[in-house]
Protein backbone atom coordinates (compact mmCIF):
# COMPACT_ATOMS: atom_id res chain seq x y z
CA UNK A 1 0.00 0.00 0.00
CA UNK A 2 1.56 3.34 -1.01
CA UNK A 3 2.13 6.25 1.34
CA UNK A 4 -1.31 7.85 1.75
CA UNK A 5 -2.79 4.56 2.94
CA UNK A 6 -5.25 4.33 0.05
CA UNK A 7 -5.04 4.21 -3.72
CA UNK A 8 -6.19 6.84 -6.21
CA UNK A 9 -8.99 4.53 -7.31
CA UNK A 10 -10.04 4.03 -3.72
CA UNK A 11 -10.46 7.71 -2.93
CA UNK A 12 -12.24 8.21 -6.23
CA UNK A 13 -14.69 5.43 -5.39
CA UNK A 14 -15.16 6.67 -1.84
CA UNK A 15 -15.65 10.29 -2.92
CA UNK A 16 -18.24 9.11 -5.43
CA UNK A 17 -20.04 6.90 -2.92
CA UNK A 18 -20.49 9.84 -0.59
CA UNK A 19 -22.66 11.56 -3.19
CA UNK A 20 -25.45 9.00 -2.75
CA UNK A 21 -27.95 8.96 0.09
CA UNK A 22 -30.60 6.68 1.54
CA UNK A 23 -33.35 8.33 -0.43
CA UNK A 24 -31.48 8.44 -3.75
CA UNK A 25 -32.84 6.40 -6.64
CA UNK A 26 -29.69 5.75 -8.67
CA UNK A 27 -29.42 4.33 -12.20
CA UNK A 28 -26.03 2.66 -12.06
CA UNK A 29 -23.53 2.28 -14.89
CA UNK A 30 -21.16 -0.66 -14.83
CA UNK A 31 -17.60 -0.61 -13.53
CA UNK A 32 -16.55 2.18 -11.19
CA UNK A 33 -20.03 3.71 -10.76
CA UNK A 34 -21.28 0.31 -9.69
CA UNK A 35 -18.46 -0.07 -7.17
CA UNK A 36 -19.17 3.40 -5.76
CA UNK A 37 -22.92 2.90 -5.59
CA UNK A 38 -22.54 -0.39 -3.78
CA UNK A 39 -19.99 1.10 -1.40
CA UNK A 40 -22.62 3.71 -0.51
CA UNK A 41 -25.17 0.98 0.05
CA UNK A 42 -22.80 -1.05 2.20
CA UNK A 43 -21.74 1.93 4.31
CA UNK A 44 -23.65 5.16 4.93
CA UNK A 45 -26.68 4.64 2.69
CA UNK A 46 -28.06 1.14 3.29
CA UNK A 47 -31.43 2.09 1.80
CA UNK A 48 -30.18 3.69 -1.43
CA UNK A 49 -32.15 2.29 -4.38
CA UNK A 50 -29.86 0.90 -7.07
CA UNK A 51 -31.32 0.31 -10.50
CA UNK A 52 -29.37 -1.28 -13.36
CA UNK A 53 -30.49 -0.94 -16.92
CA UNK A 54 -30.72 -4.71 -17.21
CA UNK A 55 -34.04 -4.31 -15.42
CA UNK A 56 -33.03 -4.98 -11.82
CA UNK A 57 -34.73 -2.68 -9.32
CA UNK A 58 -33.27 -2.40 -5.83
CA UNK A 59 -30.40 -4.76 -6.47
CA UNK A 60 -28.26 -5.62 -3.44
CA UNK A 61 -25.25 -7.44 -4.82
CA UNK A 62 -22.90 -8.98 -2.30
CA UNK A 63 -20.06 -8.92 -4.84
CA UNK A 64 -19.32 -6.44 -7.60
CA UNK A 65 -21.07 -7.53 -10.79
CA UNK A 66 -18.72 -7.87 -13.76
CA UNK A 67 -21.54 -7.01 -16.13
CA UNK A 68 -24.68 -4.99 -15.57
CA UNK A 69 -26.86 -8.07 -15.73
CA UNK A 70 -25.11 -10.66 -13.57
CA UNK A 71 -27.17 -13.13 -11.59
CA UNK A 72 -25.76 -11.37 -8.54
CA UNK A 73 -28.02 -8.46 -9.49
CA UNK A 74 -31.15 -10.27 -10.59
CA UNK A 75 -31.15 -12.70 -7.69
CA UNK A 76 -30.81 -9.95 -5.07
CA UNK A 77 -33.16 -7.42 -6.68
CA UNK A 78 -36.62 -6.67 -5.36
CA UNK A 79 -37.91 -7.22 -8.87
CA UNK A 80 -36.66 -7.41 -12.44
CA UNK A 81 -38.52 -5.72 -15.29
CA UNK A 82 -38.10 -5.96 -19.05
CA UNK A 83 -35.75 -3.62 -20.87
CA UNK A 84 -38.51 -1.65 -22.60
CA UNK A 85 -40.22 -1.14 -19.26
CA UNK A 86 -36.95 -0.05 -17.67
CA UNK A 87 -36.31 2.59 -20.28
CA UNK A 88 -39.88 3.76 -20.74
CA UNK A 89 -41.51 3.61 -17.33
CA UNK A 90 -38.56 4.03 -15.00
CA UNK A 91 -36.00 6.14 -16.83
CA UNK A 92 -38.13 8.18 -19.24
CA UNK A 93 -40.96 8.16 -16.68
CA UNK A 94 -38.82 10.41 -14.49
CA UNK A 95 -38.16 8.25 -11.40
CA UNK A 96 -34.35 8.40 -11.49
CA UNK A 97 -32.68 10.91 -9.16
CA UNK A 98 -29.12 10.20 -10.24
CA UNK A 99 -27.79 8.65 -13.41
CA UNK A 100 -24.30 7.45 -12.58
CA UNK A 101 -22.14 7.10 -15.68
CA UNK A 102 -18.63 6.22 -16.67
CA UNK A 103 -16.98 7.71 -19.75
CA UNK A 104 -14.00 7.30 -22.02
CA UNK A 105 -13.76 11.03 -22.72
CA UNK A 106 -15.38 14.17 -21.39
CA UNK A 107 -15.21 17.82 -22.38
CA UNK A 108 -15.40 21.03 -20.37
CA UNK A 109 -19.20 21.05 -20.50
CA UNK A 110 -19.36 17.43 -19.35
CA UNK A 111 -20.47 16.08 -22.70
CA UNK A 112 -19.35 12.46 -22.97
CA UNK A 113 -17.79 10.36 -25.70
CA UNK A 114 -17.90 6.57 -25.57
CA UNK A 115 -18.28 6.02 -29.32
CA UNK A 116 -15.13 6.66 -31.35
CA UNK A 117 -11.74 8.33 -31.28
CA UNK A 118 -11.07 9.83 -34.68
CA UNK A 119 -13.51 10.03 -37.55
CA UNK A 120 -16.76 8.06 -37.13
CA UNK A 121 -16.50 6.52 -40.60
CA UNK A 122 -12.84 5.56 -40.21
CA UNK A 123 -12.10 5.64 -36.49
CA UNK A 124 -8.69 5.45 -34.92
CA UNK A 125 -10.23 3.63 -31.98
CA UNK A 126 -13.67 2.16 -31.97
CA UNK A 127 -15.15 2.40 -28.44
CA UNK A 128 -18.12 0.30 -27.27
CA UNK A 129 -20.77 2.89 -28.08
CA UNK A 130 -23.70 4.55 -26.37
CA UNK A 131 -25.48 1.79 -24.50
CA UNK A 132 -28.09 3.42 -22.33
CA UNK A 133 -26.10 6.58 -21.68
CA UNK A 134 -27.68 9.12 -24.08
CA UNK A 135 -31.15 8.78 -22.58
CA UNK A 136 -29.86 8.35 -19.03
CA UNK A 137 -28.00 11.63 -19.51
CA UNK A 138 -31.12 13.46 -20.65
CA UNK A 139 -33.75 11.81 -18.40
CA UNK A 140 -32.35 11.50 -14.85
CA UNK A 141 -32.77 14.46 -12.48
CA UNK A 142 -29.01 14.81 -12.32
CA UNK A 143 -25.94 13.01 -13.60
CA UNK A 144 -22.74 11.99 -11.86
CA UNK A 145 -19.80 11.02 -14.04
CA UNK A 146 -16.82 9.04 -12.85
CA UNK A 147 -13.51 8.69 -14.69
CA UNK A 148 -9.79 9.01 -14.17
CA UNK A 149 -8.23 12.30 -15.21
CA UNK A 150 -5.73 12.51 -18.04
CA UNK A 151 -5.01 14.44 -21.23
CA UNK A 152 -6.61 11.70 -23.32
CA UNK A 153 -9.80 11.64 -21.25
CA UNK A 154 -10.44 15.30 -20.44
CA UNK A 155 -10.58 16.72 -23.96
CA UNK A 156 -10.84 20.26 -25.19
CA UNK A 157 -12.98 18.87 -28.03
CA UNK A 158 -14.69 15.51 -28.39
CA UNK A 159 -14.59 13.57 -31.64
CA UNK A 160 -18.15 12.43 -30.95
CA UNK A 161 -20.82 13.45 -28.47
CA UNK A 162 -22.37 10.22 -27.29
CA UNK A 163 -24.28 11.73 -24.39
CA UNK A 164 -25.26 15.32 -23.81
CA UNK A 165 -23.88 17.12 -20.79
CA UNK A 166 -24.28 20.89 -20.87
CA UNK A 167 -23.82 21.09 -24.65
CA UNK A 168 -22.04 24.31 -25.51
CA UNK A 169 -22.62 25.62 -21.99
CA UNK A 170 -24.95 28.14 -20.45
CA UNK A 171 -28.56 27.31 -21.24
CA UNK A 172 -27.72 25.09 -24.21
CA UNK A 173 -28.74 21.82 -22.53
CA UNK A 174 -32.29 23.03 -21.92
CA UNK A 175 -32.56 24.19 -25.53
CA UNK A 176 -32.23 20.56 -26.60
CA UNK A 177 -35.28 19.67 -24.52
CA UNK A 178 -33.25 17.50 -22.16
CA UNK A 179 -34.82 16.68 -18.77
CA UNK A 180 -33.03 17.10 -15.46
CA UNK A 181 -30.13 19.36 -14.62
CA UNK A 182 -27.47 17.27 -16.31
CA UNK A 183 -24.00 16.45 -15.00
CA UNK A 184 -23.63 18.03 -11.57
CA UNK A 185 -20.49 16.23 -10.45
CA UNK A 186 -17.53 14.62 -12.18
CA UNK A 187 -15.68 12.47 -9.70
CA UNK A 188 -12.08 11.65 -10.60
CA UNK A 189 -8.95 10.16 -9.07
CA UNK A 190 -7.60 13.67 -8.41
CA UNK A 191 -10.64 15.62 -7.31
CA UNK A 192 -14.26 16.52 -8.01
CA UNK A 193 -15.34 18.87 -10.80
CA UNK A 194 -18.68 20.68 -10.91
CA UNK A 195 -20.23 22.93 -13.54
CA UNK A 196 -20.14 26.67 -12.93
CA UNK A 197 -23.72 27.75 -12.09
CA UNK A 198 -23.95 30.02 -15.13
CA UNK A 199 -21.39 29.09 -17.76
CA UNK A 200 -21.75 25.38 -16.95
CA UNK A 201 -18.02 24.92 -17.52
CA UNK A 202 -16.52 22.29 -15.23
CA UNK A 203 -14.27 23.62 -12.50
CA UNK A 204 -12.38 21.95 -9.72
CA UNK A 205 -14.44 22.18 -6.54
CA UNK A 206 -12.77 19.56 -4.38
CA UNK A 207 -9.22 18.29 -4.51
CA UNK A 208 -8.19 14.99 -3.01
CA UNK A 209 -5.72 15.12 -0.10
CA UNK A 210 -2.08 15.29 -1.16
CA UNK A 211 -2.89 16.27 -4.76
CA UNK A 212 -1.49 19.57 -6.12
CA UNK A 213 -3.67 21.88 -8.21
CA UNK A 214 -0.99 21.90 -10.94
CA UNK A 215 -1.18 18.13 -11.08
CA UNK A 216 -4.90 18.34 -11.76
CA UNK A 217 -4.44 21.05 -14.38
CA UNK A 218 -1.77 18.98 -16.09
CA UNK A 219 -4.20 16.05 -16.35
CA UNK A 220 -6.83 18.14 -18.10
CA UNK A 221 -6.99 18.84 -21.84
CA UNK A 222 -8.35 22.35 -21.40
CA UNK A 223 -7.29 25.18 -19.10
CA UNK A 224 -9.10 23.96 -16.00
CA UNK A 225 -10.66 26.59 -13.80
CA UNK A 226 -10.42 26.29 -10.05
CA UNK A 227 -13.51 27.18 -8.05
CA UNK A 228 -13.06 29.97 -5.54
CA UNK A 229 -14.83 27.80 -2.99
CA UNK A 230 -12.62 24.75 -3.66
CA UNK A 231 -12.27 22.45 -0.68
CA UNK A 232 -10.17 19.44 0.13
CA UNK A 233 -11.91 16.08 -0.14
CA UNK A 234 -12.18 14.60 3.36
CA UNK A 235 -9.81 11.69 3.88
CA UNK A 236 -11.25 8.22 3.44
CA UNK A 237 -12.31 6.88 6.82
CA UNK A 238 -11.17 3.54 8.08
CA UNK A 239 -14.75 2.33 7.79
CA UNK A 240 -15.05 3.41 4.17
CA UNK A 241 -11.76 1.78 3.29
CA UNK A 242 -12.49 -1.45 5.07
CA UNK A 243 -15.96 -1.81 3.58
CA UNK A 244 -14.60 -1.09 0.10
CA UNK A 245 -11.73 -3.51 0.48
CA UNK A 246 -13.91 -6.28 1.86
CA UNK A 247 -16.29 -5.78 -1.05
CA UNK A 248 -13.40 -5.91 -3.53
CA UNK A 249 -11.96 -8.98 -1.84
CA UNK A 250 -15.29 -10.80 -1.94
CA UNK A 251 -15.60 -9.83 -5.59
CA UNK A 252 -12.12 -11.09 -6.46
CA UNK A 253 -12.82 -14.34 -4.68
CA UNK A 254 -15.98 -14.64 -6.76
CA UNK A 255 -14.05 -14.01 -9.96
CA UNK A 256 -15.61 -10.65 -10.77
CA UNK A 257 -13.05 -8.45 -9.12
CA UNK A 258 -10.58 -7.76 -11.89
CA UNK A 259 -9.34 -4.21 -11.47
CA UNK A 260 -12.20 -2.28 -12.97
CA UNK A 261 -11.69 -0.01 -15.89
CA UNK A 262 -14.07 2.89 -16.07
CA UNK A 263 -16.53 2.27 -18.80
CA UNK A 264 -19.61 3.81 -20.27
CA UNK A 265 -22.88 2.46 -18.99
CA UNK A 266 -23.15 -0.72 -20.97
Amino acid sequence: MPEPGYSADEIMTIAAARQLHNDTVCFVGIGMPSAAANLARLSHAPQVTLIYESGTIEAKPDVLPLSIADSELSETAMTVVSIPEMFRYWLQGGWIDVGFLGAAQIDRFANINTTVIGDYGKPKTRLPGAGGAPEIATSAKEIFVMLRMGQRAFMSKLDFVTSLGHGSGGNNRAEYGAQGRGPSRVITDLGILEPHPETRELELTSIHPGIAVDQVKAACGWPLKIAARMVETPLPTNLELSVLREFKARSEAAGTGRPQKVRAAQ
Binding site: S82, R88, L91, R126, G131, G132, E135, T138, G177, R263
Partner: protein, 288 residues
Protein backbone atom coordinates in the same frame (compact mmCIF):
# COMPACT_ATOMS: atom_id res chain seq x y z
CA UNK B 1 -47.10 -22.68 -34.03
CA UNK B 2 -44.22 -24.05 -32.05
CA UNK B 3 -42.41 -27.16 -33.20
CA UNK B 4 -39.93 -29.05 -31.07
CA UNK B 5 -36.94 -29.76 -33.28
CA UNK B 6 -33.19 -30.20 -33.28
CA UNK B 7 -31.13 -27.03 -33.34
CA UNK B 8 -29.29 -28.01 -36.50
CA UNK B 9 -32.60 -28.46 -38.36
CA UNK B 10 -34.06 -25.25 -36.96
CA UNK B 11 -31.02 -23.21 -38.01
CA UNK B 12 -30.93 -24.91 -41.41
CA UNK B 13 -34.61 -24.27 -42.09
CA UNK B 14 -35.18 -20.89 -40.50
CA UNK B 15 -32.02 -18.82 -41.04
CA UNK B 16 -31.17 -17.93 -44.62
CA UNK B 17 -28.10 -16.26 -46.09
CA UNK B 18 -28.70 -12.52 -46.24
CA UNK B 19 -31.20 -12.53 -43.36
CA UNK B 20 -31.50 -9.93 -40.66
CA UNK B 21 -31.09 -11.92 -37.45
CA UNK B 22 -31.32 -10.93 -33.79
CA UNK B 23 -29.57 -13.33 -31.42
CA UNK B 24 -30.66 -11.47 -28.29
CA UNK B 25 -29.88 -11.76 -24.62
CA UNK B 26 -28.99 -8.99 -22.20
CA UNK B 27 -25.96 -10.70 -20.59
CA UNK B 28 -28.41 -13.36 -19.37
CA UNK B 29 -29.68 -16.17 -21.65
CA UNK B 30 -27.47 -15.38 -24.64
CA UNK B 31 -28.23 -17.97 -27.36
CA UNK B 32 -24.64 -19.16 -27.82
CA UNK B 33 -25.48 -22.68 -29.00
CA UNK B 34 -27.78 -21.34 -31.73
CA UNK B 35 -25.27 -18.72 -32.85
CA UNK B 36 -22.42 -21.23 -33.07
CA UNK B 37 -24.63 -23.61 -35.05
CA UNK B 38 -25.35 -20.79 -37.54
CA UNK B 39 -21.58 -20.21 -37.87
CA UNK B 40 -20.99 -23.95 -38.29
CA UNK B 41 -23.56 -23.98 -41.11
CA UNK B 42 -21.81 -21.00 -42.69
CA UNK B 43 -24.85 -18.71 -42.71
CA UNK B 44 -23.49 -15.60 -44.36
CA UNK B 45 -24.18 -12.06 -45.41
CA UNK B 46 -26.14 -11.59 -42.20
CA UNK B 47 -27.30 -8.30 -40.76
CA UNK B 48 -27.02 -8.90 -37.04
CA UNK B 49 -29.13 -7.01 -34.51
CA UNK B 50 -28.33 -6.87 -30.83
CA UNK B 51 -28.52 -4.27 -28.08
CA UNK B 52 -25.24 -5.52 -26.58
CA UNK B 53 -23.23 -7.53 -29.09
CA UNK B 54 -20.66 -9.65 -27.29
CA UNK B 55 -18.64 -12.81 -27.93
CA UNK B 56 -20.98 -14.51 -30.43
CA UNK B 57 -21.16 -11.39 -32.56
CA UNK B 58 -17.37 -10.98 -32.34
CA UNK B 59 -17.23 -14.51 -33.74
CA UNK B 60 -19.70 -13.91 -36.58
CA UNK B 61 -17.80 -10.77 -37.54
CA UNK B 62 -14.34 -12.37 -37.32
CA UNK B 63 -15.50 -15.22 -39.56
CA UNK B 64 -16.64 -12.74 -42.20
CA UNK B 65 -20.29 -13.81 -42.03
CA UNK B 66 -21.62 -10.36 -41.19
CA UNK B 67 -22.72 -7.65 -43.57
CA UNK B 68 -24.22 -5.23 -41.10
CA UNK B 69 -24.57 -4.65 -37.38
CA UNK B 70 -27.44 -2.90 -35.60
CA UNK B 71 -26.30 -2.26 -32.05
CA UNK B 72 -26.00 0.07 -29.06
CA UNK B 73 -23.04 -1.21 -27.02
CA UNK B 74 -20.39 -3.49 -28.45
CA UNK B 75 -17.93 -4.62 -25.82
CA UNK B 76 -16.86 -7.45 -23.57
CA UNK B 77 -18.69 -6.43 -20.39
CA UNK B 78 -16.34 -5.82 -17.54
CA UNK B 79 -13.34 -6.89 -19.63
CA UNK B 80 -12.81 -4.53 -22.56
CA UNK B 81 -13.06 -4.46 -26.31
CA UNK B 82 -14.50 -6.89 -28.80
CA UNK B 83 -11.33 -7.21 -30.86
CA UNK B 84 -12.92 -8.74 -33.94
CA UNK B 85 -15.59 -6.03 -34.02
CA UNK B 86 -12.93 -3.36 -33.68
CA UNK B 87 -10.74 -4.95 -36.35
CA UNK B 88 -13.67 -4.97 -38.77
CA UNK B 89 -14.63 -1.36 -38.06
CA UNK B 90 -11.11 0.06 -37.77
CA UNK B 91 -9.37 -2.01 -40.45
CA UNK B 92 -12.10 -3.66 -42.52
CA UNK B 93 -10.87 -7.16 -41.60
CA UNK B 94 -11.95 -9.68 -42.73
CA UNK B 95 -14.34 -7.28 -44.41
CA UNK B 96 -16.00 -3.99 -43.61
CA UNK B 97 -19.35 -4.05 -41.83
CA UNK B 98 -22.10 -1.51 -42.12
CA UNK B 99 -23.04 -0.02 -38.74
CA UNK B 100 -26.57 1.01 -37.80
CA UNK B 101 -25.74 2.44 -34.41
CA UNK B 102 -28.33 3.20 -31.74
CA UNK B 103 -28.83 3.66 -28.04
CA UNK B 104 -30.43 1.13 -25.72
CA UNK B 105 -33.56 3.19 -25.30
CA UNK B 106 -33.83 3.55 -29.04
CA UNK B 107 -33.44 -0.20 -29.70
CA UNK B 108 -35.76 -1.21 -26.84
CA UNK B 109 -38.46 1.06 -28.22
CA UNK B 110 -37.89 -0.15 -31.78
CA UNK B 111 -38.21 -3.80 -30.75
CA UNK B 112 -41.33 -3.00 -28.73
CA UNK B 113 -42.85 -1.26 -31.76
CA UNK B 114 -42.09 -4.36 -33.83
CA UNK B 115 -43.76 -6.54 -31.20
CA UNK B 116 -46.72 -4.15 -31.18
CA UNK B 117 -47.31 -4.33 -34.91
CA UNK B 118 -46.57 -0.61 -35.25
CA UNK B 119 -44.38 0.86 -38.00
CA UNK B 120 -42.43 3.14 -35.65
CA UNK B 121 -41.68 4.02 -32.05
CA UNK B 122 -41.73 7.36 -30.28
CA UNK B 123 -39.49 8.22 -27.34
CA UNK B 124 -37.75 11.19 -25.76
CA UNK B 125 -34.19 10.76 -26.87
CA UNK B 126 -31.24 11.69 -29.02
CA UNK B 127 -31.24 15.16 -27.53
CA UNK B 128 -27.93 16.78 -28.31
CA UNK B 129 -26.02 13.61 -29.08
CA UNK B 130 -24.29 12.94 -32.40
CA UNK B 131 -25.91 9.61 -33.30
CA UNK B 132 -28.57 11.17 -35.57
CA UNK B 133 -25.71 12.82 -37.50
CA UNK B 134 -24.31 9.42 -38.49
CA UNK B 135 -27.56 7.44 -38.64
CA UNK B 136 -30.25 8.68 -41.00
CA UNK B 137 -32.76 6.18 -39.61
CA UNK B 138 -33.25 8.36 -36.56
CA UNK B 139 -36.03 10.87 -37.24
CA UNK B 140 -38.37 13.17 -35.36
CA UNK B 141 -42.12 13.34 -34.81
CA UNK B 142 -44.19 16.15 -33.34
CA UNK B 143 -46.75 15.55 -30.59
CA UNK B 144 -50.14 16.63 -32.00
CA UNK B 145 -51.24 17.83 -28.56
CA UNK B 146 -48.24 19.64 -27.05
CA UNK B 147 -46.03 20.36 -30.06
CA UNK B 148 -43.06 18.65 -28.37
CA UNK B 149 -40.61 17.18 -30.86
CA UNK B 150 -39.71 13.60 -30.00
CA UNK B 151 -37.43 10.93 -31.43
CA UNK B 152 -38.90 8.43 -33.91
CA UNK B 153 -37.30 5.18 -35.03
CA UNK B 154 -38.58 2.51 -37.40
CA UNK B 155 -39.89 -0.67 -35.80
CA UNK B 156 -37.40 -3.52 -35.65
CA UNK B 157 -38.78 -6.60 -37.41
CA UNK B 158 -35.97 -9.16 -37.78
CA UNK B 159 -36.29 -11.98 -40.29
CA UNK B 160 -35.26 -14.31 -37.50
CA UNK B 161 -35.25 -13.83 -33.74
CA UNK B 162 -33.18 -16.24 -31.67
CA UNK B 163 -33.26 -16.42 -27.87
CA UNK B 164 -32.45 -18.82 -25.09
CA UNK B 165 -34.87 -19.52 -22.23
CA UNK B 166 -35.01 -21.72 -19.18
CA UNK B 167 -37.99 -23.94 -19.88
CA UNK B 168 -40.48 -25.11 -22.48
CA UNK B 169 -43.36 -27.53 -22.25
CA UNK B 170 -44.07 -30.21 -24.82
CA UNK B 171 -46.45 -28.01 -26.74
CA UNK B 172 -43.76 -25.36 -27.14
CA UNK B 173 -44.87 -22.82 -24.55
CA UNK B 174 -41.75 -21.13 -23.19
CA UNK B 175 -41.00 -19.73 -19.72
CA UNK B 176 -38.11 -17.48 -18.76
CA UNK B 177 -37.29 -15.57 -15.62
CA UNK B 178 -34.66 -13.33 -14.09
CA UNK B 179 -33.30 -10.76 -16.47
CA UNK B 180 -35.83 -11.10 -19.26
CA UNK B 181 -34.31 -8.23 -21.21
CA UNK B 182 -35.83 -7.83 -24.63
CA UNK B 183 -36.46 -11.56 -25.23
CA UNK B 184 -40.25 -11.40 -25.47
CA UNK B 185 -40.20 -8.42 -27.83
CA UNK B 186 -37.65 -10.08 -30.14
CA UNK B 187 -39.75 -13.20 -30.44
CA UNK B 188 -42.94 -11.26 -31.11
CA UNK B 189 -41.28 -8.86 -33.55
CA UNK B 190 -39.54 -11.49 -35.69
CA UNK B 191 -40.95 -13.22 -38.74
CA UNK B 192 -39.36 -16.56 -37.76
CA UNK B 193 -38.09 -17.61 -34.32
CA UNK B 194 -35.80 -20.13 -32.68
CA UNK B 195 -35.88 -20.63 -28.92
CA UNK B 196 -33.30 -22.87 -27.27
CA UNK B 197 -34.13 -24.05 -23.76
CA UNK B 198 -32.49 -25.66 -20.76
CA UNK B 199 -35.29 -28.19 -20.29
CA UNK B 200 -38.53 -29.43 -21.80
CA UNK B 201 -41.13 -30.47 -19.25
CA UNK B 202 -44.71 -31.78 -19.24
CA UNK B 203 -46.23 -28.80 -17.46
CA UNK B 204 -44.82 -25.28 -17.68
CA UNK B 205 -45.93 -24.31 -14.16
CA UNK B 206 -45.36 -20.62 -14.67
CA UNK B 207 -45.83 -18.35 -11.64
CA UNK B 208 -48.55 -15.69 -12.01
CA UNK B 209 -47.58 -12.92 -14.45
CA UNK B 210 -44.38 -14.72 -15.46
CA UNK B 211 -42.71 -13.99 -18.78
CA UNK B 212 -44.23 -16.68 -21.02
CA UNK B 213 -44.01 -17.04 -24.79
CA UNK B 214 -47.11 -19.01 -25.80
CA UNK B 215 -46.70 -21.82 -28.32
CA UNK B 216 -48.60 -19.95 -31.03
CA UNK B 217 -46.01 -17.14 -31.00
CA UNK B 218 -42.95 -19.38 -31.13
CA UNK B 219 -41.33 -21.14 -34.09
CA UNK B 220 -38.75 -23.82 -33.35
CA UNK B 221 -38.08 -24.91 -29.77
CA UNK B 222 -34.78 -26.76 -29.32
CA UNK B 223 -33.48 -28.51 -26.23
CA UNK B 224 -29.95 -27.20 -25.66
CA UNK B 225 -28.95 -27.55 -22.02
CA UNK B 226 -26.13 -25.16 -21.11
CA UNK B 227 -26.79 -23.50 -24.48
CA UNK B 228 -26.33 -19.98 -23.10
CA UNK B 229 -22.80 -20.63 -21.81
CA UNK B 230 -20.60 -18.64 -21.17
CA UNK B 231 -23.51 -16.37 -20.25
CA UNK B 232 -25.84 -17.72 -17.61
CA UNK B 233 -29.28 -19.18 -17.12
CA UNK B 234 -30.72 -18.19 -13.77
CA UNK B 235 -31.58 -21.28 -11.79
CA UNK B 236 -29.29 -23.46 -13.92
CA UNK B 237 -25.73 -22.11 -14.06
CA UNK B 238 -23.78 -18.94 -13.41
CA UNK B 239 -22.00 -16.65 -15.80
CA UNK B 240 -18.52 -17.95 -16.65
CA UNK B 241 -16.67 -14.70 -16.11
CA UNK B 242 -13.39 -16.55 -16.64
CA UNK B 243 -14.28 -17.34 -20.23
CA UNK B 244 -15.19 -13.72 -20.94
CA UNK B 245 -11.75 -12.74 -19.70
CA UNK B 246 -10.12 -15.54 -21.70
CA UNK B 247 -11.91 -14.38 -24.83
CA UNK B 248 -9.94 -11.15 -24.67
CA UNK B 249 -6.76 -13.12 -25.44
CA UNK B 250 -8.32 -15.55 -27.89
CA UNK B 251 -9.82 -12.80 -30.04
CA UNK B 252 -7.04 -10.23 -29.80
CA UNK B 253 -5.12 -11.58 -32.80
CA UNK B 254 -6.61 -12.75 -36.09
CA UNK B 255 -4.63 -15.98 -36.19
CA UNK B 256 -5.40 -17.17 -32.67
CA UNK B 257 -9.04 -16.32 -33.22
CA UNK B 258 -9.28 -18.26 -36.48
CA UNK B 259 -7.40 -21.25 -35.12
CA UNK B 260 -9.63 -21.34 -32.07
CA UNK B 261 -12.82 -21.07 -34.12
CA UNK B 262 -11.69 -23.80 -36.51
CA UNK B 263 -10.71 -26.20 -33.77
CA UNK B 264 -13.59 -25.71 -31.37
CA UNK B 265 -16.52 -24.49 -33.47
CA UNK B 266 -16.12 -25.40 -37.13
CA UNK B 267 -14.58 -28.81 -36.48
CA UNK B 268 -17.23 -29.84 -33.97
CA UNK B 269 -20.72 -31.05 -34.78
CA UNK B 270 -22.74 -29.42 -32.06
CA UNK B 271 -22.65 -27.52 -28.81
CA UNK B 272 -21.91 -30.57 -26.70
CA UNK B 273 -18.89 -31.42 -28.86
CA UNK B 274 -17.81 -27.78 -28.73
CA UNK B 275 -17.86 -27.81 -24.96
CA UNK B 276 -16.01 -31.13 -24.88
CA UNK B 277 -13.42 -29.72 -27.23
CA UNK B 278 -12.86 -26.74 -24.92
CA UNK B 279 -12.54 -29.03 -21.92
CA UNK B 280 -9.96 -31.20 -23.58
CA UNK B 281 -7.99 -28.11 -24.62
CA UNK B 282 -8.09 -26.88 -21.02
CA UNK B 283 -6.70 -30.25 -19.88
CA UNK B 284 -3.85 -29.99 -22.40
CA UNK B 285 -2.95 -26.60 -20.99
CA UNK B 286 -3.07 -27.97 -17.46
CA UNK B 287 -0.77 -30.88 -18.44
CA UNK B 288 1.72 -28.66 -20.26
Amino acid sequence: MAEISSLSEAVRDLIRDGDTVAFEGFTHLIPSAAALEAMRQGKRDLTLIRMTPDIIYDQFIGLGLTRGLVFAWGGNPGVGSLHRLRDAVENGWPKPIELDERSHSDMANAYAAGASGLPFAVFRGHLGDDLPKVNSRLKRVTCPFTGEVLAAVPATRPDVGVVHAQRADKRGNVLLWGIIGIQKEVVLASKRTIVTVEEIVDELQAPPNACVLPHFAVGAVCLEPHGAWPSYAQGFYKRDNGFYKAWDDIARERETFLAWMKRHVLATKNFAEYEASLKSAAKEVARA
